[in-house]
């Protein structure tokens, strides 16, 4: 009896949290289509007409389009690099015995234990001395380097769990070590690659601290960095609707990806956590 009485209350709690999560996002979308005057009047009113020109203004004048392109270049490059190097490293450490194997593995995985803030100051000077401050390739290399420990850690366990017989058969067929990896083992590791790929993509897409320190050139700003700079700079304080539009444009790609791949994304990210 008691159970039936509490049931609606529990549903209400679930609904309340769903509303709490949705409300700020829905409000941002709504505000991005209003005029500034409408925004100031009340947070609740529906826009009289949809002001898509806010989006156009954010895209061009506020350079959100440019930041998006920069982000795609840097994240795309870093993701490709870390997936290639990470899977190779994990495979070698998981499937080949050689002196120093354990040492290399633990040295790599230890990178996950340190807070990035500890490395921040020396990292700035390392990148500076290499002449890579504010360059695409500098950011790509640093992103890939910091994503490497988790990638190796995750895929190491994955390659260990694959059967050895297949690789041995490949060698008997005359495969070289490299082609055994690329043609046989890598395709078998696909589920693990997808999980860690999603994990890395989101992690790199959302980077804020590293570009803030290493990427001082406004023309090369990545999305998170550019948006934050817009919000903080006084000049754009007056253009609320444009800033809301920029915010929504920045959220949109992630939202679309999530709607399309929500199951893979959730299992990919949670698998990353319990490893």
């Amino acid at each position: 009896m008691r159970r039936h009485a509490t049931e609606p209350l529990l549903h209400l709690a679930l609904l309340a949290w769903a509303a709490l999560v949705t409300l700020p996002l829905a409000w941002a979308v709504l505000s991005s289509l209003k005029t500034d005057a409408e925004i100031f009047a009340s947070p609740w009113t529906i826009p009289g007409q949809l002001h898509w020109e806010n989006w156009a203004r954010a895209w061009q004048e506020a350079s959100i389009g440019r930041y998006l392109l920069n982000t795609l270049i840097v994240v795309g490059g870093a993701l490709a690099l870390v997936m290639l190097l990470g899977s190779l490293t994990a495979y070698c450490l998981a499937r080949y015995e050689f002196p120093g194997n354990r040492l290399v593995y633990y040295a790599l995985v230890a990178g996950m234990l340190f807070p990035v803030f500890l490395a921040l100051v020396p990292l700035f000077f390392v990148v500076d001395r290499l002449g890579m401050l504010g360059t695409y390739h500098g950011l790509i290399l640093v992103y890939a380097a910091y994503a490497l420990p988790f990638t190796v850690f995750f895929l190491h366990a994955f390659f260990r769990s694959l059967p050895t017989a297949v690789a041995e058969a490949a060698f008997l067929d005359g495969c070289s070590h490299a082609s055994a990896f690329f043609k046989v083992m890598l395709p078998m590791a696909r589920p693990g690659m997808v999980s860690v790929g999603i994990f890395n993509f989101l992690g790199l897409w959302n980077q804020y601290l590293l570009p803030l320190v290493l990427n001082p050139d406004p023309d090369r700003y990545v999305l998170a960095q550019g948006l934050a700079a817009l919000a903080v700079s006084q000049g754009y304080r007056s253009d609320f609707s444009g800033l809301f539009a920029g915010l929504v444009i920045a959220i949109l790609p992630v939202l679309v990806a999530y709607v399309l791949f929500q199951r893979q994304i959730r299992s990919g990210l949670t698998a990353g956590a319990v490893r």
Partner: protein, 301 residues
């Protein structure tokens, strides 16, 4: 089969190890050295100053405020997030013996999880708007509910600025742990839950005696992750708060003090000392969290 083995290994491992060595390992090692110098960024000027940087930390009001604020976050964020997430996860997986969880369970998971995908920078910008006094969402909601008296300039009042930041951290994190815990709860064998039900155990008793011990490993992992999250807070504070770090150091965090010392004042040795301190705090807390929760598991099992 042995043919070309060494060549393959060298070819495969050189690039990643070089990348890791240059951009990750060497900065970490250098930080421990720099922490004992007064380096200000000009080459050839680094002087060994022993533990001076570390002793100065204890009379640095900004750093002490940061320690206090991160400490508060550390007390509140993991416990509140885990409690909320356990509650929602339990409700989503409840009554599983009959059906597959509560009606709409899948939709709730999809919605709850989404904030996890947002960059902290986006969260900062979004919630700066939410907390805006005049046309912000929060005050608007309060007024619509007839609670207009509670409306205030959230980020401008020293007493409310830190809770406002903490609320954003919890808001963004809960959904992820709901999904994580719900998955763990679904792996509890059905007959165990069935047996508890036949023994007349109510919901609360089932949760405490069966569900919680089963998911405790996951909770432990969550605690460590959330603790690390609570020691950060840099991006949110830097974007959202006045100052940033204000008002009156009310939202200062270690990351922000470090960032400011290094990249505004050029005190690179001093900033490195903060980094080293942060590292040892992280290390100690991880060890502590793992130990504390382990003992708990023995008691509740």
């Amino acid at each position: 089969m042995r043919h070309g083995r060494t060549r393959f290994l060298i070819g495969a491992l050189t690039a990643p190890l070089l990348l890791y060595g240059v951009f990750v390992a060497s900065p970490y090692v250098q930080a421990f050295y720099l922490a004992f110098t007064d380096w200000n960024g000009l080459s050839g000027q680094a002087r060994n100053v022993g533990f001076d940087n570390f002793t100065s930390l204890w009379s640095d009001t900004a750093f002490l405020a940061a320690l206090r604020n991160n400490g508060l976050m550390l007390l509140v964020v993991p416990v509140a997030t885990i409690a909320l997430a356990l509650f929602f996860a339990a409700m989503l997986t409840m009554g599983r013996a009959a059906t597959s969880g509560v009606r709409g369970s899948g939709v709730y998971r999809i919605v709850y999880f989404f904030p996890q995908l947002l960059s902290v920078a986006i969260l900062g910008v979004l919630f700066q708007f939410v907390y805006t006094p005049k046309n912000g969402l929060l005050n608007g909601v309060l007024e619509a509910l007839g609670l207009g008296g509670l409306a205030r300039a959230w980020l401008a009042e020293p007493a409310w600025a830190l809770p406002a930041v903490i609320a954003v951290m919890i808001w963004a994190a809960v959904g992820f742990y709901v999904v994580l815990f719900a998955a763990a709860m679904e792996s509890i064998p059905r007959d165990v839950l069935e047996a508890a039900r036949l023994d007349g155990a109510g919901r609360a008793a089932t949760f405490r005696r069966i569900t919680l011990p089963f998911v405790w490993d996951t909770v432990q992992v969550a605690y460590v992750y959330l603790g690390i999250l609570a020691l950060d807070g840099f991006a949110l504070v830097q974007i959202m708060t006045v100052g940033p770090g204000g008002p009156d150091n009310a939202t200062e965090v270690i990351g922000l003090t470090l960032y400011r010392s290094a990249f505004t004042y050029g005190e690179f040795g001093y900033a490195s000392a903060m980094g080293v301190t942060l590292f040892f705090i992280t290390l100690a807390l991880t060890a502590l969290a793992l130990r504390a929760t382990r003992r708990e598991r023995v008691e509740s099992a």
